[in-house]
Symmetry: C2
Subunit: 75 residues, 2 copies
DNA sequence: ATGTGACTTCCAGTCCGTC
DNA sequence: AGACGGACTGGAAGTCACA
């Protein structure tokens, strides 16, 4: 029963956090790079926001990644 | 001519249209499958709306695809 | 450095049409 | 069947104070 509800939000949020920590950035650092607010990054990582495509792309670019890389289940 | 990053909307929209036509679905068919509004599908394909992650996923599932497949430049 | 509730603004998303 | 417009509602965007 693969619930494909908003697990996609968790997947994306987890990926962002993972990539951010790997690059040793704080949420605030990433927020500045992506031109988004500090608290917003936190909310996205916690899957509390249903993020739009443009902001997803901003975050991906700030992390120097392709958007696809933030949506893969399995590397 | 560096394209702005919002080309991601065009990429996604084009991909959706391509996949939809391949499967011989009308916009209305896809809208019903994805539980979204008919006019909205058209807007997304024309890159007129900044779609949210959950709806992107809904459309991908309605097309029997992974979300990643709708974001690839290159098949 | 991050989590959270509250808040306003504005656009994602719907619904009625017409061409 | 699809593009497009006008009007509307709900919710995402964006921010803040404080824990």
């Amino acid at each position: 029963m693969a619930n494909n509800k908003n697990n996609i939000l968790n997947l994306f949020g987890d990926r962002v956090r993972q990539a951010r920590v790997e690059k040793k950035l704080s949420q605030e650092d990433l927020a500045n790079l992506a031109d988004l607010h500090r608290t917003y990054i936190g909310m996205v990582e916690r899957a509390e926001r249903n993020i739009t495509l443009i902001n997803m792309n901003k975050i991906a670019q700030a992390l120097d990644l392709k958007l696809i890389d933030l949506l893969k289940n399995d590397t």
